[in-house]
């Protein structure tokens, strides 16, 4: 039965995250962007919300709540509303824990998950994107080979969040089958694996508070059970769709942040004897933003809902991802336009929103679940 309302538990989580984004994240967003780092105290308070520990089963020390893509989307939107870089930092551990939970063996889970149920922030990460213009997550150039009982991973990655901090990373690589076709595969790789080299911290246009690095994998040998769901293409599709939904939800958050900022400004700023919000050229831009934020959220929720029913959501997640990238960029650009020259100045947040929004359109593999 059609229903557009979150359940009580989701509403409660949402309220909590809204308050956190408003009171803790946003006030630090500008400074974090300028300094290129997220304050440790803020990370700790974010950790204390339990967004990572929540879905880890009690036997590993977590709270044992079932993982829901929809709840994840709600959280991602609200955190990103506060700030995209800080949100990505806070959620980066989930890049590892969610795939582990969904596809990891019991042995692997009991080995890795307890670290994510401790008292303080535990970094985790995924290395998905590759430094090439035509990167294709469905056919990564990073290779995976079987060698005896082990697997060997080789290739280059970029935009790896917390690449230098995470003790374990999820690496996306292509397994070449007997038929010559390349199938994507997710592999858990420990940072101290011989052959793995974490590169320089990257300097990006946006998301400046987030540490991202390059990664070189030179014949990194990993035990068989660290290759998740070997040969299971449906599982890898599901993983890609979880990422798409997570990233799209964050795009909605950024779009909404830009829209809210511009709307409030438009009510205050006066020109030609009126608030600029009373000019249709401005009012209609704001109306479009409001409408598109809602439309985007519904598309994201629909894809998330399908994932939670364990149905193939490739079409929905893929289309939502494309749409939210385009529309969020447009909304951020229009939001800056509403502020005129002031929007161009770093005293206001909109230029930061625009720089961050550009990232969605570019980083196909920027992966958050």
């Amino acid at each position: 039965m059609i229903n557009f309302e979150l359940d009580d538990e989701q509403k409660l989580i949402r309220e909590t995250v809204i308050a956190f984004a408003r009171d803790e994240i946003r006030p630090h967003a500008r400074e974090a962007d300028e300094k290129g780092s997220v304050p440790a105290a803020l990370l700790q308070r974010g950790w204390d919300l339990g967004l990572v520990q929540n879905m880890i089963p009690e036997e590993y020390g977590g709270f044992g709540t079932e993982h829901s893509a929809l709840t994840g989307a709600v959280i991602a939107e609200e955190l990103a509303y506060g700030d995209l870089a800080i949100a990505t930092h806070l959620l980066a551990p989930r890049l590892l824990t969610v795939p582990l939970l969904e596809f990891g063996s019991t042995e692997l889970k009991s080995r890795l998950l307890p670290a994510f149920c401790g008292e303080s922030f535990e970094p985790g990460s995924a290395a998905v994107v590759e430094p090439r213009f035509d990167f294709d997550p469905a056919a990564p150039a990073t290779t995976l080979r079987r060698e005896g009982d082990d697997y060997v991973v080789s290739g280059a990655k970029c935009y790896v969040p917390l690449g230098a901090q995470a003790k374990h990373l999820l690496v996306l690589a292509g397994l070449t089958n007997g038929d010559g076709a390349v199938h994507p595969q997710a592999i858990v790789v420990a940072r101290d694996t011989p052959g793995l080299r974490v590169g320089e911290r990257e300097k990006n246009m946006g998301l400046k508070a987030l540490e991202t690095t390059t990664l070189d994998l030179d014949a990194c040998r990993v035990p068989r059970d660290q290759v998740l769901a070997v040969g299971d293409q449906a599982a890898m599709r599901r993983l890609a769709n979880l990422w798409r939904v997570g990233v799209s939800a964050m795009a909605v958050g950024v779009a909404r942040a830009a829209y809210d900022y511009a709307r409030e400004y438009a009510k205050e700023r006066r020109a030609f004897g009126q608030a600029i919000g009373q000019k249709q050229a401005i009012a209609f831009m704001l109306a479009e933003m409001a409408m598109e934020v809602d439309a985007m959220r519904l598309l994201v929720w629909e894809a998330a809902w399908k994932l939670d029913r364990h149905e193939d959501a490739t079409r929905e997640a893929y289309l939502a991802r494309r749409y939210t990238s385009d529309v969020t960029l447009r909304i951020a650009d229009n939001a800056l336009q509403v502020l005129g020259g002031h929007g161009y100045i770093r005293d206001h947040m909109v230029e930061l929103f625009l720089r961050n929004a550009r990232g969605f359109a570019t980083l196909e593999g920027l992966a958050i679940a």
Partner: protein, 411 residues
């Protein structure tokens, strides 16, 4: 809990209507586009029998007269799904289907029990009946508060004078040769009072003083008549006014009249979706015939231009559909949906014009040819960006809402 699955009951209805759209509407769609001003009587009579026999068809409200919404807690959702399906068949034919329509919706929303009995019971008879809504005038369209038609009280009657244009089904509802219908007419009882003086009146088909003067020749939706109605000392009974005859100090009354749009805008949005989906389905089929599959999940760098266009169309339509379902769902759940109804209408109206125009472009010679229906869908689509509030008017309603402006502060 968030859920995007339609109930089995609604799915079954959709299935049924899809068959009807495919087998009873598509085959005559071109014919009644070319033979403008002729009525598809076989189709009309069939729809009338069908809507009486079952509960399908938009605007079926007769059954729960006087009872609260608990009787049918998803009527609005059911209606938008039905309207999308029928408009997938043909938007012009859909608009020509007899039934309570917009006039009936107004009676349903603000009529007294006596008025509901008097006017809505007609829709249970053996012969098709239409109703219509006449707001627009030659000098006032979007600015509906500026209408000039007057209603003056004279003893036991109201006397109407003025001209209404662009009245959908005005011919079928207003001419007694066609049906025992009625027209809901907006008129002012006090020009000096502005919007507070605007009231709506029910005028029976064939009332002396009301003439159906002409029907427009249009770009699209040609199976639906769009009539000019002239009122010259047209006398109607006193109790044919909808709502109170008092002129309030505030414009609350006007807002009440405008509230019917919260129910009807999602319906127009749904009709837009139907036309858009018709075009999208057709494009998909044609591409398939040429061996072109749409590959979801492919890296952006590997997408073809055709795939990009198709995916854009598909996503835009789905975005509009979800906004439409939400607006209807909110109304079913007793929530105020003024903002959301305008979002649905603005989005769907724009999207359907873009999607159908793109379809003509993508299909090249097939798109432009009158042998096929694609060019017709493009012509039919455009109306959805105009009636029930143009694109701009709906954007203004959204803007006022989100900025907290009155109609004086933003117009």
């Amino acid at each position: 809990m968030v859920d995007f699955e339609l109930s089995p009951e609604i799915m079954a209805q959709r299935e049924q209507l899809h068959m009807l759209a495919e087998h009873a509407m598509r085959p005559i769609a071109r014919e009644y586009d070319e033979r403008e001003h002729e009525k598809p009587w076989d189709f009309i009579n069939m729809m009338w029998q069908l809507s009486k026999a079952s509960d399908i068809g938009p605007g079926k409200e007769g059954k729960q007269d006087g009872k609260k919404k608990a009787v049918d807690s998803n009527r609005n959702l059911r209606t938008v799904i039905a309207v999308e399906e029928l408009s997938w068949g043909d938007a012009g034919l859909y608009l020509s289907i007899p039934g309570p329509g917009l006039g009936g919706a107004a009676v349903q929303a603000v009529g007294t029990p006596e008025q509901k009995e008097r006017f809505l019971s007609r829709f249970k008879g053996d012969k098709p009946v239409w109703s219509a809504m006449a707001i627009t005038e030659p000098g006032a369209g979007s600015d509906s508060a500026a209408i000039q038609t007057t209603a003056v009280r004279d003893g036991d009657h109201w006397v109407l004078n003025g001209t209404k244009i662009f009245c959908t089904s005005g011919l079928m509802a207003g001419d007694p040769k066609n049906s025992n219908g009625f027209i809901v007419v907006w008129a002012t009882v006090d020009r000096a009072a502005g919007r507070a003086g605007i009231k709506s009146f029910i005028v029976d088909a064939g009332t002396p003083g009301m003439t159906v003067a002409k029907c427009e020749d249009k770009l699209g939706i040609r199976a639906s008549d769009t009539a000019t109605l002239i009122f010259e000392d047209c006398r109607i009974p006193l109790d044919n006014i909808l709502g109170s005859p008092e002129v309030p100090k505030t414009s609350e009354g006007f807002k009440g009249v405008m509230a019917t749009f919260d129910a009807t805008r999602p319906i127009v949005a749904a009709s837009a979706l139907g036309v858009g989906r018709a075009a999208l389905d057709f494009v998909r089929e044609e591409l398939k015939k040429q061996g072109v599959e749409i590959r979801y999940g492919v890296a952006p760098s590997k997408l073809t231009a055709i795939e990009r266009d198709f995916m854009d169309m598909e996503t835009q339509l789905q975005a509009a559909r979800l906004l439409t379902w939400r607006a209807a769902w909110m109304m079913d759940n007793g929530q105020k949906n003024n903002l959301e109804a305008s979002m649905a209408k603005a989005k769907a109206g724009l999207v359907v014009t873009q999607v159908t125009q793109k379809a003509v472009e993508m299909l090249g010679p097939l798109g432009y040819s009158r042998q096929l229906l694609v060019e017709k869908w493009m012509r039919d689509a455009k109306i959805n960006d105009i009636f029930e509030g143009t694109q701009q008017i709906n954007m203004m309603i959204i803007a006022r809402r989100i900025l907290g402006y009155t109609s004086k502060e933003l117009s």
